[in-house]
Amino acid sequence: MKRFQWDQNKFGLEESTPTSRAFHHSIRALVRERFEASGLEWKDFVLAGSNCGLSESDFRSVEAKLLASGYRFDVSATISAKEEPEKYKAMKGQHERTVNAEIKDGRMEVGVGDNVVTYPASVKGSALYVHTTDEVMAMVMEGVPPGSIAIIDDSGGTLTAPILEHFAGVICMGGSVRSHLGILCREYGIPCFMNAKIGGINNGDRLEINCAAPARSAVDCQKGIERTAEIWKLV
């Protein structure tokens, strides 16, 4: 094999995300370097025995190269930033949106979300942000304040596993109605909005979520049909 296939890709070579692009470019360069230095046929280089001649330290160097350029990574799991804060950007805060400040019937719209299940009536409660395992642990030990509407930026079902059933409602600033958190809220019968966009909500604010609105279906998601329901702050 005289040329590498990726040199001849007729329809383009570029990954669409910067980290994938940078990493794959570096790795392909390493493969080229090791292959040319090996003197092997590709069939003897790619898998059996040689496995492209790349070791863990090579892949470590790929990440180090991008970090040395000043690039810092988005963080997803709390543990990642906790263990290696130098690698990651500061964790994102709330997903703020512009608030419609009009007060009507003693309430102000402060957000919208995708309703998981339609219930007979809306639900009221107090806003309670839940971001970290430390916050969850505190509630495991001390209990969840009654009537809490949790505001969570994690669509998973594990962060809040020991306390989820105690929430009066859930607002999740990510995911979809088929995400794990949405599935669990449906099972527990907890009103839940996924993929929510909110603004101007502080811990302890009295909220009302319109879980009587139509639910967003999988078909809606697939066809890109927006079907949101309101989140109000009671004033």
Partner: protein, 520 residues
């Protein structure tokens, strides 16, 4: 004498590429109807990528090891008669797709060509095909998607037992309250014990139950101590490894049961529409489904409540344990849960070894330094959602199923290798493995907690009744015309053995007979 190596044939490549494209099309649909699952607790996308690489390097060898003792078709027969982790999700989607996702990732890093590991790719896809055709024998399809997103896996004899024995319930009664709480709690535990992954839960159906009612069957698997070392000391008291909950739902049509074992219904599924429910356990040694506290609605409600308490306690202990893990432990645990998703097939064949299924191969382990949160998220998103990795772009005229753009998820094997012979055959034998986790207890089974050797031995010495030579090939189309044959009658009576209402009723019953038995 060394076996003569057979050349790859055109027919093999045609079929393999077709099977890959089927998975490419369906995987895109499955992935695009959800967002990438992120978690504040687990580095989910990074661990998924690690699992795919591990699957690519290890599964071909492990599938060959399984088939050295039992064919995929026979494994499928056994899987069809119990609720273990050989189901729609694990065998139907992850077997081909985790392997192919690992392959596609390596192609895009320049560490593989589409014409590398060709014999492995052919073999893995062939294993998938044979397993699926056997597992789906009753509905005659290879996947749920081929059936319009439906799975009707069970034979009449099992469904009749469910129809006869499931208990009625109404919203607000003790059974309804207890079962709803159980379902939510066990679902939560499954997400946690599986490191944010949905593979501990799978649904099948729907099955017509007449009068506008439909049955779905929900399996909750790997609940007790078993393959996952982190459940040692957490799930020791849990008396069942797998639980199956058949439920009859009124006024609800399950219009979609996808290859991830997830459903969509019209109107949306609500607990108050469940009108009948049951509880069963099964495993490789149980000889089909064993009823759990099915003697009365009261006993069943009490059992649901008892199990909910046990699971809730385990949930609290496990969450605290996991919250104390390092990122490396979370990454590895998640990767192992994904990677070992085929391990119940090894259990079925009686060749399970913890080192095969709960270790990361050194060839995959070397990739860990790449797997920060952002790269994990972005490469996964490109790989399964955007389809924008360089290998996934096709010619300008292509219109992909579900997307209408010129992309596909998995690279086909080029046919030109038949002329050039320029391809590699296999990723080779298992590499050296490692794990941060050590297993300290045995495996929960319906014969108690067994160690690895005893478990494999017991499985090898046991043939489920439905898989004996005289019963294995009895299917519903044969029963239709031969329900009075002795072998058919015996198989039905065996399935009915543990049924309070159907014991010894035999193979000639129809729905109206069962309705009379329920009412009588």
């Amino acid at each position: 004498m060394e076996a003569v190596k057979k050349p790859v044939t055109y027919a093999q490549l045609l079929e393999t590429n077709n099977l890959m494209q089927i998975n490419s099309d369906e995987s895109y649909w499955l992935c695009v109807t959800r967002t990438t699952q992120e978690s504040k607790l687990f580095p989910v996308s990074p661990y998924m990528m690690l699992s795919y690489a591990n699957a690519f390097y290890r599964w071909p060898s492990l599938l060959r090891k399984i088939e050295s003792r039992m064919s995929m078709e026979e494994c499928g027969d056994r899987a069809r008669n119990m609720g273990t982790k050989t189901d729609t999700l694990t065998m139907g989607w992850t077997l081909p797709c985790f392997y192919l996702l690992g392959r596609e990732w390596l192609i895009n890093m320049g560490m593989l060509r589409p014409e590398d590991a060709v014999e492995d790719v052919i073999y893995v896809m062939d294993c998938w095909k044979r397993m699926q055709l056997s597992y789906h024998r009753n509905d005659g399809h290879i996947t749920n998607s081929q059936y319009g997103h439906r799975s009707q896996l069970m034979p009449e004899r099992q469904l009749q037992v469910f129809e006869a024995d499931l208990h009625d319930m109404t919203p607000g009664d003790a059974l309804h309250v207890a079962s709803s709480k159980f379902m939510a709690t066990v679902s939560q535990y499954q997400f946690l014990s599986h490191c944010e992954c949905r593979i501990g839960i799978c649904n099948q159906g729907p099955y017509s139950f007449g009068e506008g009612r439909e049955l779905i069957v929900r399996d909750f698997m790997d609940l007790g101590v078993g393959d996952y070392p982190w459940l040692d000391g957490v799930a020791d008291k849990f008396p069942f490894h797998n639980l199956t909950v058949p439920m009859v739902v009124k006024d609800t049509h399950f219009e979609l049961m996808d290859d991830w074992g997830s459903f969509e219904s019209k109107p949306e599924f609500r607990a108050e529409n469940i009108v009948r429910i049951g509880l069963y356990t099964s495993d490789l040694l149980s000889d089909s489904y064993v009823p759990v506290a099915m003697e009365s609605p009261q006993a069943l409600a009490a059992k649901f409540t008892e199990l909910t308490r046990l699971i809730s306690d385990a949930n609290q202990v496990l969450w605290k344990k996991i919250a104390g893990w390092s990122r490396a432990e979370m990454l590895e645990a998640g990767a192992l849960v994904y990677y070992n998703i085929l391990k119940d097939v090894a259990h079925i064949a009686g060749v399970y070894e913890q080192s095969d299924w709960m270790e990361i191969d050194e060839r995959a382990q070397r990739l860990v330094p790449l797997l920060n949160d952002e790269y994990g998220r972005d490469v996964l998103t490109e790989l399964v959602g955007l389809l924008t990795l360089p290998s996934q772009v096709c010619n300008d005229y292509t219109m992909a199923m579900h997307k209408n753009t010129n992309h596909r998820m998995y690279s086909p094997i080029p046919y030109t290798i038949l002329n050039t012979g320029d391809y590699t055959a296999t990723s080779g034998p298992l590499g050296k493995g490692s794990s941060l986790f050590k297993k300290t207890t045995g495996w929960r089974t319906t014969r108690g907690v067994l160690d690895q050797e005893s478990y494999n031995k017991a499985v090898r010495e046991f043939t489920p009744t439905a898989c004996t030579p005289e019963a294995r090939f009895i299917d519903d189309s044969w029963v239709k015309y031969h329900h009075k044959d002795a072998n058919v009658e015996a198989l039905y009576r065996h399935t009915q053995t543990r049924s309070p209402r159907l014991a010894n009723k035999g193979a000639s019953l129809k729905r109206e007979d069962i309705t009379k038995l329920r009412n009588g």
